[in-house]
Every structure is written in structure tokens, then in C-alpha cells.
Symmetry: C2
Subunit: 329 residues, 2 copies
């Protein structure tokens, strides 16, 4: 990215071009009546000094960019795609544009944050499972999804992971499962998804069931292979709550490979509520995150931060159960 | 969106504030040494006139925004999500940012184009199946995906629909199908997807097969219901090429509903190569569009247009067959 040079002013341009500041202003504003020879001199000076009038914009509320950046792991994932769809739609209603930033591409979080600070965005909405808070030293308006921050006053939107985990446990018990397992992974950051395991196990225990647990630490090798070993070692398992729908799909593949039928032998519930597209079906029974609501809330919070209004630091939104083909009706 | 008023210049601001143009320039450039009272007068005048120095940017190559807009029907669709992922990644490598515009949200093509003209983007990449060319009266750099334009010099990137249609026909014949059908829809715009029917049927005829055709005109009601009637009326069909993977999924649902097994009774091939995400499987056997290549080509073409370099008006990229669970191995 071309870095904006704050130190270069219209006066510098005028001096180098050998013209008055008013002339530079006329050129900059595309006004008519400037002689070709003068125009060329000013353009040459602008180019030479890398002068950008945009440098003016910083901190002046009058010149908001009306652009918000969305940082996500990858847009090529139905959960992030659905969330982005609703964020863009909501921003668009409010007169804002959306800049898309995929972390799984060539740029990493820190590069994006640096770029966004240098360039003009009014704020950032981010879904990131790495410790991005270290880069958030400046006061750029920021709303985080699925993460909470211990020592920072950062706005955060999540689905109700606790209620979701409890509902998954309740549904598996209701549907007749007796040997129930949690399957997932975790990392060292303080993200909300950890509550899925915690409250699932707590609910089962309270109801008198044992919780079989497969919850490995990231980064990992051979997740699928390790999971297959776990499922082979526990052939009695008849109900599984997976930390997200993609892990649920992995579980289903492994079970089929092991000769088990879903949902007849083993029932599976995921988390997220992914679908290929709006009009498509849920591939797994799932705890659905209210992505439209989460997107609206995130945009609302961010605009409050931008406008200096008060806002809740954390917003927890309600989940629901969606019946797919992997549980018994 | 706040509209940029072209007519307001730094001179107007100076006049209203009762100061010199040089003072306005110093304020605009955040220079030190401007008295508080003067600062306030200038800010007030800027606000009152809605003055934006950005108006200067238009047409001056030196002040490129390094932002490109991507207009797609919806990001919540694996085909558009994958394409967007690769476009953003490629733009990012080239120092450009991506503005995401979903047509299926609240804004329509024309609103986006208007917004993009008013604001600053260096160019537009668009996948749109409505006649957007009517709005493209200005010379904003533009690359279209899957559309060709009769009377306009607009750059276009497509997959090789002709080769894809022929390959689908060839694969169905090779895999033993004898009563083969095309299933899809079309509208009045001149888009490349029409070639999928044309060259599929041509290939079958040349090889001595009849092509059963279900190809209704958009907009339509009850696509699925009409398709079910067609499949009931032609119970002998044992191979189907669907215009895209989503239609293939519809076909599979209807066949299952009619008691037919896929691929045992009927084999189905789609077009696009959709997957939930990069690491996920193909849900249908499919003619895969080379989306990474198409994204790179679209970005390259757009940057050539922006930089005034020569570029090919149409780029046609190679397809491939991906074996999914809906054809016999």
C-alpha cells in the first residue's frame, strides 16, 4: 500500500511548482481556467511529493469515509458468507460500504489492521480466533464477534453459547441418546466457543449422564485420524454434539466409514446453522446462530462507537435448534 | 450516501469563512499554527458547504483509491463466495482493497453503480444476470463475469461453457446413459450460460442421441414443480446435465422424491463446482469453473483497463470434470 505522507502540504506543492497555493487548490479541485503549462507543473509537483489531500481526513468527523472493514478467516465458508451478507446489507441501509478482508489469503490480521489504520475506514468488525487485541492499540472503532477481551473495552457480539450447549444436550437426551459425547478443539485465546463444551458437559452431568469428551488443543495434526481413534475406542456412543457444523460433517464421514448409520445408530448435532445458501437445507441438525441479528447488532454497536454514543460492551443473542437429517424426528 | 458536491471548492470555503485559500489549505492539511477561532470558522464553512476535497480525485491517476468494487448477486452462495475469496486475495496482492456489493440485499445494481460513480473506486468487477450495460454509460473501468456485451467494449471473463457442455455430454455417454436430458432456465440477456444448453444438445445429436430438454424462461414460478412434471413425463431419463449445481441439487431431491436412486437409476452432472468450503467435498459431480484463475484474470484485466493498457476483450478459461457422488465411477 502507498503510505500517506502526512507531512506534505498544499504549500509544499505550491512551492515546488512555483505557483501560489490558490492555484494548487484550483488544480486539486479540478476547476477550469488553469493553463495547461501550470496544470502540468502542479501535477508534476504533486506526483513528485506524493501529495495526497486525503491526509486531511483523519480525525475530522465531517469527512467520514462511510466505509467499514470486515475481517474474517475466509469468505469461502457458509457461516462467514452468511454473516458478511447480512453485515453488508445492514451497512448499506445505513449508507456505509463494506471492505472485505480474508485472513486465510495472503494477508494476515496485523497486515490488515496496519493497512486499515493507514487508509481510511471508519471502523472494523472482526471474526478472528487469534489474539488480535495486541494490535488494537489505537482507538479505531472495533466490534468483535465470538471473542471476549479480558482487559480491553472492546464491544463483542456472540450467540448464546451457554444456552446453545444446554439445548444440544437436552435435545440429544430427549431423542433417546444415553452415551453422549462432545467433539471439538480449542486454542489458548479466550473465545466464546469454549462455553460450548463447558455447559454441554455441565448439563449432562446435572442430568445424570457421563460426557465423553474429545477436545484437543490447536494447532493439531490429523484431527480426523485422532477423532476416528476416539470413536473406535468408544463404540457405545449414540449421540454427539460437535463444536461446529464442519466438525459435525467430519464426525458423520468417520461414522459412515466405521459402518455406523446416522441418525439410526448415532445422532449428531452441530453448531452454527450452515447452509450452502439462503434457500438450501441444513446438512446437519444444528444449534443455529442468529446471524442476521448478530450482523445488525454488530453494525449498530460499531456505528455507536463511531458516533461516540454509549453501547453495551457485550451483546449475547439467542440461538435455536434446527432439525436436519442427522437426528431422529 | 452523502453525495459529493463537485461545485464546492476551497475558494468557496475561504470566501464563506472570510479567510484566505492558504488558510483553508492549512486547515485541510491539519497543519499547526492555525488559531482556534480561525479553525472553527473554516470547519464551520466546510460543514456548511459540505465541502469534500475528495472531489479532486476523479480522473487524476496520481490519486488512485486502490479500491475495486465487486458486484455479485449474493455472497451467501458458495460459487460467489469462492470467486470473491480469490478476487480479494488477488487484489490484496496488488495493493488493492475490495468493496463488496450484494445485489440480493436492499440495493440494486443501478444503485450500486450510482454509488460507486459518486464515491471513489478505481473499477468494478461484476457478476450480474440483468442488463447492467444500460447503466455503464461512463468510462468507469469494468470487467464482467459470465456475460458478453454485444455493442460495448467491455472486458469479460468466462469459463469455457462450450467445452463444459460438451464434456458433460461426453461423460454421461461414457458412463452408460442413453436417455439424456438438459435441465435449466434462461433469460433474455445475452449471457454465456446459454451455451451450456446449446453445445450439450449439439454434442448429443452429433453422437446420435436425443436430447430431452427442460429449459424454461425466467422469471418463473414453481421451477421445482414444473421440473417434477417433466421428470414424471420422461421416466426413461437416465442421465441429466443441470445448468448449475444448485439446479442439480433440485433435480436430485425430485428424483429421490419420485423413488429414483442417484446415481444408480439416474446420473446427474452439474456446472460450477460448488463446495461448502475449500476443504470440503463436491456434493454433485460437476463441470468445475476455474474460479481462482477467473479471479486472477478478472483482476488483471481490470488493472489493465485502469492503467490504460491493452487487454483482451474476452477471456475464456478451461473447465474440468470433478467426480462427485452423483455419477457412477
Amino acid at each position: 500500500m502507498k503510505e500517506i505522507k502526512k507531512s506534505v502540504t498544499m504549500k509544499d506543492v505550491a512551492r515546488l511548482a512555483g505557483v501560489g497555493v490558490g492555484t494548487v487548490s484550483r488544480v486539486v479541485n479540478n476547476e477550469k481556467g488553469v493553463k495547461k503549462v501550470t496544470l502540468d507543473k502542479v501535477h508534476k509537483a504533486i506526483k513528485e511529493l506524493d501529495y495526497l489531500p486525503d491526509a486531511y481526513a483523519r480525525g475530522m468527523k465531517i469527512n467520514k469515509t462511510e466505509t467499514v472493514a470486515l475481517i474474517i478467516p475466509t469468505i469461502w465458508h457458509p457461516f462467514f458468507a452468511e454473516f458478511s451478507f447480512y453485515v453488508e446489507n445492514e451497512l448499506s441501509k445505513q449508507g456505509y460500504k463494506l471492505l472485505l478482508c480474508n485472513i486465510d489469503g495472503d494477508k494476515k490480521e496485523i497486515e490488515y489492521i496496519t493497512m486499515l489504520k493507514q487508509n481510511k475506514v471508519d471502523g472494523i468488525i472482526a471474526i478472528t480466533y487469534s489474539p488480535i487485541e495486541d494490535y488494537l492499540t489505537t482507538n479505531i472503532p472495533f466490534v468483535s464477534i465470538d471473542r471476549t477481551y479480558e482487559n480491553k473495552h472492546i464491544a463483542c457480539v456472540t450467540s448464546d453459547n451457554k444456552a446453545g450447549a444446554q439445548l444440544a444436550a437436552q435435545k440429544l437426551i430427549e431423542k433417546g441418546c444415553r452415551e453422549i459425547a462432545f467433539v471439538g478443539s480449542h486454542n489458548s485465546t479466550n473465545n466464546e466457543t469454549k462455553n460450548r463444551h463447558l455447559y454441554f458437559e455441565q448439563y449432562l452431568t446435572r442430568e445424570g449422564y457421563h460426557c465423553h469428551s474429545f477436545d484437543i488443543e490447536e494447532p493439531f495434526d490429523n484431527f480426523v485420524e485422532q477423532l476416528e481413534v476416539f470413536l473406535k475406542e468408544h463404540p457405545q456412543i449414540d449421540g454427539i454434539f460437535a463444536i461446529n457444523d464442519f466438525v459435525a460433517l467430519d464426525v458423520i464421514d468417520i461414522l459412515e466409514h466405521l459402518g455406523k448409520k446416522v441418525p439410526d445408530d448415532v445422532q449428531v448435532i452441530g453448531y452454527d446453522g450452515i447452509r450452502l445458501a439462503n434457500e438450501r437445507r441444513y446438512p446437519v441438525s444444528t444449534i443455529k446462530q442468529p446471524l442476521e441479528l448478530m450482523a445488525k447488532e454488530a453494525v449498530q454497536m460499531l456505528l455507536s462507537v463511531i458516533d461516540g454514543e454509549s453501547y453495551p460492551l457485550q451483546s449475547v443473542l439467542p440461538i435455536s435448534f434446527k432439525e436436519g437429517p442427522t437426528t431422529k424426528k
